[in-house]
Amino acid sequence: MTEEKKDKSYFYAGAITPEMIANSIAGHSRKKNIGAHQIFLGQVREDAVNGQKVKAIEYSVYHELANKEIAKIREELIVKHQLTCAHVLHSEGLVSAGEICFFVFVSSPHRNEAVDACAEMVNRIKKEVPVFGKEIFENETYQWKENKD
């Protein structure tokens, strides 16, 4: 079913673990009309800025609007691409370099829809959802992150 409960939160405190992702995959085996899954994982990259490496990103969120925007994007893409299922999870709080901060998982009977929908979902979320990030460097200085692409 594609319905999610009201007041659904798409945010998780801390890094998303490989175990959570594996459990999500396992949970879909009971949906027998699925033929394809497309999964995107965003990982905190150890960017170098002025000789300092990013140690972690601290994410903050405007929850009411962010959840509303993700729900809207999700619903639009489920309809547009005829998806069986779509899940989104984004970290909030501190996520270290090398850890997963963003998880998008879409499923459909055939692969083209899942591939297209996942890419569109990732791009739209990055562009439209009020999530803010502070890149914290090894020496504890920081800068505010801005999505470019």
Binding site: L65, H90, G133
Partner: protein, 75 residues
């Protein structure tokens, strides 16, 4: 009226929530805020009213909650 502030803007203003006297619309609110906090001029930001993004000037009511949103960094 309540103004909630996020990210780099909250840091610049020194608070994540501020109170302003009622103004007629979002355009006026923006001028009032920039006058009070001149550093706002140098950071691009979007506004949302009652958790709805706005792209043009809209009228405001006393109980509206306005959010100031600096550039996004999600994903």
């Amino acid at each position: 009226m309540k103004v909630i502030v996020f990210g780099m803007l909250a840091e610049q203003i020194g608070s994540s929530e501020i109170s302003v006297d009622k103004v007629d619309d979002t355009k006026m609110l923006k001028s009032v805020l920039i006058e009070r906090y001149p550093s706002l001029k140098s950071v691009p930001f979007q506004m949302a009213v009652n958790a709805n993004k706005i792209s043009e000037n809209i009228r405001l009511n006393e109980n509206d909650v306005i959010a100031l949103l600096p550039p996004f960094a999600g994903g």
